[in-house]
């Protein structure tokens, strides 16, 4: 099977018209010894065989419809209105190129402009780019931008409650830069502000805090932002976008950058990708941020039009002096988010956040009613919370796996060696029946 729409007769005609007698003449520049290699690939499949093979592979996974799962920790199972798929799967969007030729790309450009508008609306920030790879790399980009914009400030302070994969990504990205990473300790699941004040100093370029944090707790963002700004450092807020229908947005506590993973906005979990990273900032930093940006302008007839703008920041123009090496964005996923937010609208965006909050709190209360189970931290939370179990959480997971139930993620205790902690996520997709089933299953582990 291939996708080449020409016959051998046509190839022969094209070769002849090109003044060569065979294909080999066109590739005689390749050294002969490079053409002698042996390697193996599976035999080609017809489309029918391919579909059957892929359906078999997919069927050997256990999905969130087959397993009752309370996993979150960065990727979330949310309701996606069917109109998102219907619109975002249109070939005119899916198979379009990057909109460098504005006149041939108004569809993509307008949608990204609307995406930028909605991201600013929900985060309360002034400026948004057109998206980055994912939440972890968005944190890393914000760290790099902070380093670049503040020469002679090598220190990056982050809350110890930052998602471990985000922290690992930040450290990997900046391994070649002169950056020093300082982890700010926690007290009862959130930043210890007194300790933080001693760690942020005039050599600090950025303070990075995630809220809700990896343990599900809401961080004291406003106080943390004040500490950063007192020393002239940027405050980078990493947030769950779907929480912002209810939770105070970064623009309300003067964050310099608000970043995060956009998957909760209309993107399937898809084993962790693709979602998209978002990066928003204050207006002042617009020339310093990375990634594509769409701007509004007019055409020669003075009609409203959109185009990529501020491209002189980017690698294809500035090469090694660019604000980042990033070239692409996750346009199709940003489009999904844009459609998703438009469908939810002002009210739906509030409702879905409230419903997450309600169901998570109902679940937490029910679980804590079981003897031996308690909330690990006495902090406000959104749709995720950490439970201290009476048994090691890994044992609990292993036993419930047989019942097709994943009650959460076994996590390390930030303060001790205990491994009895379970990070539980309850989104709007979990019904009261689901929650009852979870509580019933956990009751089996309850202490007498």
């Amino acid at each position: 099977m291939d996708f080449v729409p020409n016959s051998e007769a046509e190839f022969a005609a094209m070769l002849q018209a090109s003044g060569v007698s065979s294909f080999d003449d066109l590739v005689s520049c390749i050294p002969a010894k490079l053409k002698e290699f042996r390697s193996r690939l599976p035999a080609p499949l017809t489309e029918m065989e391919l579909v059957m093979e892929m359906e078999k592979l997919a069927a050997s996974n256990r999905t969130s419809r087959q397993v009752l799962s309370f996993l979150g920790a960065g990727i979330y199972d949310h309701f996606i209105p069917p109109a998102v798929d219907a619109l975002a799967s249109r070939g005119e969007f899916v198979t379009a190129y990057t909109p460098y030729q504005a006149e041939a790309s108004q569809g993509t450009l307008t949608a990204i402009y609307e995406y930028q508008s909605y991201l600013c609306a929900i985060t309360g920030m002034e400026v948004s780019n057109a998206s980055l790879y994912d939440g972890a790399s968005a944190v890393a980009e914000a760290g790099f931008l902070s380093l670049q914009a503040n020469s002679n400030r090598p220190r990056i302070v982050h809350a110890a409650s930052l998602h471990p994969e985000y922290l690992a990504t930040l450290q990997t990205y900046l391994a070649g830069q002169k950056a020093e990473f300082v982890s700010a300790p926690l007290k009862d699941g959130v930043l210890d502000l007194d300790a933080l004040a001693g760690l942020v100093n005039p050599r600090t370029c950025a303070l990075i805090v995630q809220s809700p944090n990896f343990h599900g707790c809401l961080e004291p963002m406003a106080q943390a932002a004040d500490i950063a700004h007192r020393h002239g450092a940027f405050f980078v807020a990493c947030v769950n976008p779907i929480s912002l229908g209810l939770i105070r947005p970064p623009g309300e506590y003067n964050a310099d950058f608000a970043v995060g993973e956009g998957q909760p906005l209309g993107c399937p979990m898809s084993f962790g990708g693709p979602g998209f990273g978002f990066l928003t900032s204050t207006k002042k930093l617009v020339h310093k941020i990375s990634g594509r940006i769409v701007g509004q302008t007019v055409d020669e007839n003075n009609q409203r039009s959109f185009c990529l703008t501020l491209q002189a920041r980017e690698q294809h123009i500035r090469r090694e002096k660019a604000t980042s090496n990033i070239c692409s964005n996750q346009a199709l996923m940003a489009l999904r988010a844009c459609i998703h937010l438009a469908l939810l609208g002002k009210r739906g965006f509030q409702q879905v956040a409230q419903l997450n909050h309600q169901r998570a709190h109902a679940a937490a209360a029910a679980i804590c009613g079981l003897r031996g189970f308690s909330l690990a931290f006495k902090q406000p939370f959104f749709n995720e919370f950490t439970i201290r179990c009476p048994v090691p959480s890994a044992d609990l997971l292993a036993r419930l796996e047989k019942e097709n139930l994943i009650p959460g993620l076994a996590v390390a205790d930030p303060n001790a060696k205990s491994s009895n902690l379970l990070l539980v996520c309850v989104t709007e997709t979990k019904t009261s029946d689901d929650i009852q089933r979870l509580v019933k299953a956990l009751a089996a582990f309850s202490t007498p």
């Binding site: 006149e103 990997t172 996923m333």
Partner: protein, 473 residues
Amino acid sequence: MRPPLLNEQSKPGLQAVAFPVTNDPVDLPAEHRRQTPAPLPEVAEVDVVRHFTILSKDNFSVDTHFYPLGSCTMKYNPKVNEYVSALPGFAQLHPLQPASHAQGAMRLIFELEQMLGEICGMDAFTLQPAAGAHGELTGMLIARAAHLARGKPRRKVLVPSSAHGTNPASARLAGFQIVTVPGAPDGLLHPDQVAPLIDEDTAAIMLTNPNTLGVFEEHILEIARMAHEKGALLYYDGANLNALLGLCRPGDMGFDIVHVNLHKTFSTPHGGGGPGAGPVGVKKHLAPFLPSPRAQQNPDGSFSWQHNLPQSIGKMRAFHGNFSVLARAYAYIRALGWEGLRAASRAAIIHANYIKKQLEDKFPAYTNRPCMHECVLMANHLKEAGLTVRDIAKRILDYGYHAPTIAWPIHDCLMIEPTETESKETLDAFISAMRKVAREIETESYTLQHAPHHMPIQRVDEVKAARELRLRD
């Protein structure tokens, strides 16, 4: 009249999708509560559906138009790949589910790594990078870690002047200084250009082959020898891999690290700018530095994640890469097999040479040697006509083709990559349009200066966009 934005269609109280919230009070301290609701539009579902459907019609796309867009490999994106990548067994899978729940996805990852290894002649792959530039950064961080592990950090990376901008930007982000290798008039990289620049402080040389002028780097084996003699690594930017499938392999040329663009060579759609995927392959000696975790097959045939990788550079992103993009590329390779891949590159090369030959009296080729999968043509005499190469690009849109890549890697050039998935009829029609444009350059400069004329909008004012920044409603 341009379509209104959804915010402009907003009517208080409308809502396309509602949720069954109850009126129970929300227990949340005021300091954590949002003060004012996010100003999102209030519209009905039909408004949203019409809006985005109308917008979609303002786009060029591979499904509707030919993109002779050099360096970007805008080939056809098979529909079966969209179907299989969206199967619920993949789409509804959480990345932190235990390996026992994800054996199908992990098999796909493991086997795709193996297949890319066979295609590129590399020993080990990571599928974590989300794009080509992300792969480059991964590769450069691997180079950095490898030199550190040898006990001798190195500071410089050699990059040809014709390289993609991402190459120097990625190397610099990884902490390297960039040394630019100047171009030669014949478009090839010559060992005697590299010799004076490479030394014991050179960590790597980044090359694209075929290079951005569309010609095969004939001296690659000698350059590889020179690099390795100095202890430098050779990095392969896979942007142009679509020329080489089944013909030859970067690994056999001496490359130590490669990245491939699944959204170019392996037919995954560009999505209007992403998501793509940029897997990175390495030779055996660099495998310990690959990002964590790595997929492995256990003795019983099952799959698991290997996390204990003490020399790994770390993580390039959360979780396991752009999985649904990987699934599309996997399906593509399984559908084609070696014969199909070889046929794709063969057709891509024949198509590019055909276009080059048919246009060379109007737009002479930068070099007389046969091109690989793309050709670089010169638009001469533009200045006399008061035109720029951008005017040509905009005019080509009027004829129903996406513009070629322009003004890069040299001034006043058109870089044309037809790919294998266009019919001879399409190529002939494009050639005929290009010949018309060539005539217009001589006689109708006004038409070109103000092109396009038949698109949804006239030429946009990019200067106004940048001077009077308006980046949101």
